[in-house]
Symmetry: C2
Subunit: 529 residues, 2 copies
């Protein structure tokens, strides 16, 4: 039996394996041919040693070299785009086109290029200079970053290709990637290109390392290891919280992106004005990627009325008419079924769907559920449980006070939307609801579904716990996402030649922004009189 | 028996007390007259309810009003400066002049005024605008902040007067202050002025609240309460780590400033050049405030040689000649004695001091210890245990390799210093040591002792765990310290009139800096063509 090697210290070497696993084609339920190792601690140990050495070297390299790596890697991904997208399609059943090939892959390389530009410019590090006191500070790399990628975006959030990877590298850290077990061959394809690009750019070979799978115990040991700078995790809440507990005990930063049901509030004026269009938008957003987006709208909040009933019927029809996509894995399908049963047990009523679809592959009927506000408020914890996949719950509140109470009962979420009339007739309701929703979500939208997450400097893909582990950080959006993987480093009375280039009087690049004596500027530090 | 009231919801009211305590005059060991309550959970509950309502109101107020409060409060403190400094002197035995009256009090009001300026300007919130995608983000207040102040800076780090307080308020949050039990009357004096200033500025009365003491269990419950936005704690490591564990389990941000021994590396060229001057500086820094500074240099690292022995003798003489100051409390004195005994048990040798000073008040002989590098490396954990107070350890390494190994064995610290020759003869040693020290400290100094912590935008009073809980944040330095008490809030396609003023096209003040389409600017968003 051949077992795939892991990537440690620049070499593809046999894993110190405690077992093996195979990915499964979700469209057929059949295992895919390659066998991947479950690494033991010995692999982690070797990777950590190499990562520490790489981190020390990376700190001394000019950012230009890191930028060149990210750009070289992006170009290599593009040159293998068809192959990578096909592999990801095989392992995830996500549509090849447009999703993987035309949307997610271009987004992935765009992200790497934005990260390269940020590394080169340096402004992300918030260089701050007090010329009077000769105190200077900026963010510096934190050390080896462990990235645990999710199942749902094998490219753009992939452990060795996605946003966390790009941010950690651009901030100057090596990455130890833990692949998601559902798409190991896709991750391997990325790792091959990453290693090649790394060597071409002259970075330490251990800047990029890959393990495929770990025991829970080794994962917890890894994120708490003294040699680790920080960890980024995107995935299920229970696994994420176990890692968080381990990292917290060791005082190690961990950035988590956990569950989110992304409430959408639909107000009566908007419904009167454009119910059909909103039903289209909501359905498309709910079923996009078979509902397996972090920002999938799992909860729609409305006010009772005839128009609401008509709207729910319209959505029901659309859900029933739309083809049910294939889910990412058997586990996702099972969890979805269990989550829908739990919602029903808590008082939600099935409007449509609710059952697995028999036959090959992992599919579940597009599912819409409904509950009254009263029902929701009787069991708010259960009824805001995430149903990851193509299922959403509509809650119909009797009145504004009940709707406000529902919003108050919500946990932290990545996003929250409010749809209102364009003519101002919902403005009072908006004013009564927005302050409650605002503090509970990282990104607030108007008249727009949350499933698009633009890679913009102004984006926040984050939010209050338990959507993430800390409300001040974003996983998407450059430059802010880089600062997660950095430490604030102050230089007090340090001699000029010993300062890092970002803090020297003469700025390192023409584009670098620095906060000098309270003003942002692209100029050098003025000479003293 | 009269028990002092607590400040809840704008009123000085009797505490729901589970006990009482008195402060002690450290200079005499005698209890001071006033009895203060140990609050039960009922007081916390009442304060939390009031704080939530205050937080909601504060979010709607213009920053100008918050700035006016901070400035009014600063002016009120100045008008009561003599009284406050005298009270603090009585409770802490810190020198009235210059320390309390001429240094710490002016620093306190300066900090409040800097925070006011930051609140008014708004740039601290990093307003970021993507005009193409109409996505905008900034930091917004997080909700009620609990501040647990330390014993050693009753004014500038006081729970209702210090840096954490100023930052939390300037970011738009109410503060629930937990006084340090060693200076409750000083804290009460501040709270009276804070409440008056709060009412004068038209802020919600519960913007400032004060409890004097809690059980450990209630403290842990408080920092984990869903209504709390974040907690700031400065104090001992064991108590801080208990609060951290409780806050972490609940997913609540907590900013800790724990122990730090602030290593100073003294290289041979500097010693040859200016040994006497450095002995003076080192002694002054070690004994300042009777060694009870967070940034007190508790560890001096040197290379073996005759000059080093002479230097140690010179410091010994200075330590022995200097008067031993009064420690903050009996507990501090006992802990210091125990810490010195532990250092000796681990192999350190007493050079001078090492014993409590008999008589009234809490005093301990100025203490210098010495250990070889080999001894240190045999028990690095024990020999870097903090001895809070007027005791420092000199470690004499046999050679550079051993010195490097010692630095590698250090935990995270707030600061690290390197003293080198001005003529370049230590430059190779510096280059061999700086990268190791840099990643282990928040602030790196050259040729300067760490005990001054300027309130500068470029300051970092923070550092890797266990000096603090997260290496990316600073407790001193405006504007960065404000962002600890804020959440990143994104607005995606939100209608113009619904945006917070900081994110509207027209900027709120002439000084506000915003990152618009990748460039920092004080201009409005340009009109679209």
């Amino acid at each position: 039996m051949t077992v795939e090697p892991v990537l440690i210290a620049g070499a593809w070497r046999p894993a110190a394996a405690g077992g093996t696993f195979q990915a499964v084609n979700p469209a057929t339920g059949e295992p895919l041919p390659d066998r991947f190792p479950v690494s033991t601690w010995e692999d982690c140990e070797q990777a950590l040693q190499a990562a520490v050495a790489a981190a020390d070297l990376l700190r001394r390299l000019p950012p230009e070299q890191i930028a060149a790596f990210l750009e070289g890697y992006a170009a290599r991904i593009e040159s293998k785009a068809a192959e990578i997208a096909a592999q990801a399609h095989l392992e995830t059943a996500l549509p090849l086109k447009p999703r993987l090939a035309d949307v997610e892959l271009p987004r992935t390389v765009n992200q790497l290029r934005q990260a390269a530009a940020a590394a080169r410019e340096g402004s992300w590090a918030l260089p701050t200079i007090d010329t009077q006191l000769n105190i200077r500070s900026c963010y510096l790399p934190l050390g080896p970053v462990c990235v645990f990628g999710p199942n749902n975006f094998p490219l753009a959030f992939g452990s060795i290709s996605g946003g966390d990877f790009a941010a950690a590298i651009a901030a100057g850290n090596p990455v130890l990637a833990k692949a998601h077990s559902s798409h190991p061959a896709t991750t391997r394809a990325f790792a091959r290109e990453a290693l090649a690009a790394c060597l071409e750019a002259g970075l330490p070979a251990a800047t990029v390392q890959l393990l495929y799978r770990l025991s829970h115990a080794d994962g917890e040991r890894l994120v708490a290891d003294p040699r680790v700078g920080a960890t980024a995790y995107t995935g299920s809440r229970p696994a994420g919280l176990r890692l968080k507990a381990a990292a917290d005990r060791a005082g190690k930063p961990i950035y988590l992106e956990l569950s989110s049901i992304n409430p959408v509030i639909l107000l009566p004026g908007a419904l009167r004005e454009r119910a059909a269009a909103i039903a289209d938008e909501f359905t498309a957003s709910c079923l996009m990627g078979t509902g397996q987006f972090c920002t999938n709208p799992g909860l729609l909040l409305t006010l009772a009325g005839e128009a609401t009933d008509v709207f729910i019927s319209a959505v029901k029809q659309r859900f029933a008419d739309a083809p049910a996509g294939t889910l990412l894995s058997g586990a996702v399908a099972e969890n979805l079924h269990e989550a829908v049963l739990r919602l029903c047990a808590a008082g939600a009523q099935l409007v449509t769907g609710g059952q697995p679809i028999p036959g090959r592959g992992y599919r579940f009927a597009n599912t819409l559920l409904r509950a009254s506000g009263e029902t929701f408020l009787a069991k708010p914890e259960q009824l805001q449980g995430e149903a990851f996949g193509n299922a959403s719950l509509v809650v119909v509140a009797a009145n504004l006070a009940e709707l406000q109470q529902i919003v108050r009962s919500l946990e932290g979420n990545l996003t929250g939307c409010i749809y209102t009339s364009t003519q101002g007739e919902d403005d009072e309701l908006y004013a009564a609801l927005e302050p409650l929703l605002r503090t509970r979500v990282g990104r607030l939208l108007n008249d727009k579904m949350p499933t698009g997450v633009a890679v913009s400097p102004a984006m926040n893909h984050g939010g209050p716990y338990p959507a993430t582990g800390h409300p001040g950080f974003t996983a998407v959006g450059i430059p802010a996402s880089l600062r997660r993987f950095a430490m604030l480093a102050c230089y007090d009375n340090v001699r000029p030649a010993r300062l890092p280039p970002l803090l020297q009087d003469k700025k390192p690049t023409s584009r670098t922004w620095r906060l000098i004596d309270g003003a942002w500027t692209q100029a050098d530090v003025p000479r003293r009189a």
